[in-house]
């Protein structure tokens, strides 16, 4: 504890950034600059950053599986359809790396991959939009429902965003109040996660509307995360010195809902003709199995934001 106190620098210090060569070069100086040295015990910023790595990894897993399945279904007829598989796999890999990494300081390799994931998601949205507009009828509801899903590539961007936030949180010197892009880290992550939840809700809403909400549980992913987004927005803008137990439990419920969604989608697949025995058709034509855990990933990010707000109250 005493050690941590000794390391507390002024918040005006620049963020730490390390990459393997930079670390090697800095090694002789480690003892002289305690900030770059692994600090014994649990560092709040690293803990929060690792939570965000897990959130990014969870979303990347969802995107990796979903895009692999859907693009296989599309026969990879455009070479660019391999891109999300590569970038989501990389995002997952660096998220695992980040989860196991207990050091402070942003990691250049992870930063690069997360940036690539974010960019791929944006470009992918452009590709999907192009696919929609080139179909007869152009940008109309029919094509939004049945052409390339407009919201899916954005999930890859969200994985990149959560990873990016993780690295920015980690870049803060231990003991300081973490800052992300000039904002209090907890508030920034809460606000961005809230917005991300809204985007994901709109995608689930579009596709569950296409499914006519034929099962009452289909309403859950357009209601639970909506409330979670509102609670997180409140946390992002409200007082930081309050215990947000409702928000925490609501986010946990949202995370659980993401996993429950996989079970519901598996049930949906089983209801198709031939059921799971005919999985080679039904797993692709039925509800997408890997999609719902995107909500779990965002809920994890929301929990990371709450942790940051509680560890580093800024008012």
């Amino acid at each position: 504890m005493q050690t941590v106190a000794r390391y507390r620098p002024s918040p005006a210090l620049p963020p730490i950034h390390h990459s393997p060569p930079a670390r090697a070069a800095a090694r002789p100086a480690v003892r002289a600059t305690p900030a770059a040295m692994p600090v014994p015990g649990d560092i709040a910023t690293v803990r929060a950053a690792r939570r965000l790595n897990r959130a990014a990894g969870m979303i990347a897993t969802s995107v990796l599986t979903d895009s692999a399945m859907e693009h296989y279904r599309g026969e990879f007829h455009n070479r660019a359809m391999w891109t999300p598989i590569v970038t989501a796999a990389l995002s997952l890999a660096v998220s695992v790396h980040g989860h196991t990494d207990r050091r402070t300081g942003a990691h250049r390799g992870r930063d690069l991959v997360y940036a690539a994931a974010g960019l791929t998601g944006l470009i992918g949205t452009g590709f999907h939009l192009y696919n929609i507009t080139k179909k007869p009828g152009g940008l109309c509801w029919q094509n939004l429902f049945y052409a390339a899903p407009i919201g899916a590539p954005a999930a890859l961007s969200l994985s990149g965003l959560m990873g990016f936030l993780s690295e920015r949180v980690r870049a803060n010197r231990p003991g300081s109040s973490p800052i992300v892009c000039g904002f209090s880290a907890g508030r920034a992550v809460a606000a961005l996660t809230s917005a991300s939840l809204l985007g994901t809700v709109s995608e689930a809403g579009l596709l569950h509307f296409r499914g006519a909400y034929h099962n009452p549980f289909m309403v859950l992913p357009v209601s639970l995360p909506l409330v979670a987004a509102a609670l997180l927005a409140n946390a992002a803008t409200g007082k930081s010195r309050v215990r947000r137990r409702l928000t925490r439990w609501w986010l946990r419920a949202t995370a659980l809902m993401g996993f429950g969604g996989v079970a519901f989608h598996a049930y949906g697949v089983s209801r198709s003709m031939g059921g799971w025995r005919n999985w080679r058709q039904n797993a692709f034509n039925g509800p997408p199995l890997p999609a719902p855990p995107s909500f779990s990933g965002l809920a994890l990010a929301g929990l990371a934001a709450l942790g940051l707000l509680e560890d580093h109250p800024d008012d």
């Binding site: 279904r73 599309g74 026969e75 007829h77 003709m273 031939g274 005919n278 080679r280």
Partner: protein, 217 residues
């Protein structure tokens, strides 16, 4: 230029789907029944059978390198079951009657013109007689009021190709997957092939089609 006699779906056998999710118990039962059709007359008399068989062989000549689709047997089974189309033109008798009259008339025309029954003619003579029927040039007393041209268009050209393409051998030949139930399609867009659909050999992609068709299940 591709060889027109080369198979369009090389290596594809629709019967390989028998125990996959593409077929269910009903499909297997129907196909088994069709494959096991008795190769002997049950509805036709032996001479009608011989004539029907000769007509079928001229309407759809089959390659010698595979077991033929038993068209006469399928026709006999269809007439025995007597499940018709549900409609007919005013001057056409019912299906069974039309076939009996038509086959008798074909033999009678053949005997009058060549002195032999239809099955005893050589293929060129058979084609000439069928051509006359198609063009409406046969109107002898043997037709019993049924138009020879109508018999050709509405029975011969309807029943025989229909029976041919009801047989799995013809399905394999044209890359048809059999019933689209219980398994449907995964790739809904035009021109996309599901892993359980036959692969068409396009110029330059014959080897790939052959490879794909070995895994069509």
């Amino acid at each position: 230029m591709t060889d027109p006699s080369a198979p369009r779906y090389p290596g594809y056998d629709v019967l390989a789907k028998r125990h996959t999710p593409s077929w269910n118990a009903i499909t297997r039962k129907v196909i088994d029944h069709r494959l096991a059709v008795p190769r002997e007359p049950r509805f036709f008399t032996p001479s009608e059978w011989t004539t029907a068989d000769a007509v079928c062989q001229r309407i759809i000549p089959q390659p010698a390198d595979r077991p033929p689709v038993p068209l006469a047997a399928l026709l006999d089974a269809k007439l025995l079951a007597n499940v018709g189309d549900g409609f007919r033109e005013g001057d056409m008798p019912y299906m069974r009657e039309a076939w009996r009259q038509g086959l008798a008339a074909i033999d009678a025309e053949s005997a009058a013109q060549q002195g032999r029954v239809f099955a005893a003619l050589d293929t060129a003579e058979q084609d000439a007689l069928l051509g006359m029927m198609q063009r409406g040039e046969l109107s002898g007393p043997y037709w019993n009021g049924m138009g020879a041209q109508n018999f050709f268009a509405q029975r011969i050209l309807t029943d025989i190709p229909g029976l041919y393409y009801s047989h799995p051998t013809a399905w394999s030949e044209m890359g048809f997957g059999g019933p689209a139930s219980p398994r449907g399609y995964m790739r809904m867009a035009l021109g996309r092939r599901d892993p359980w659909e036959a692969a068409e050999a396009k110029p330059g992609s014959e080897a790939r089609a052959l490879r794909d068709n070995r895994h069509v299940v």
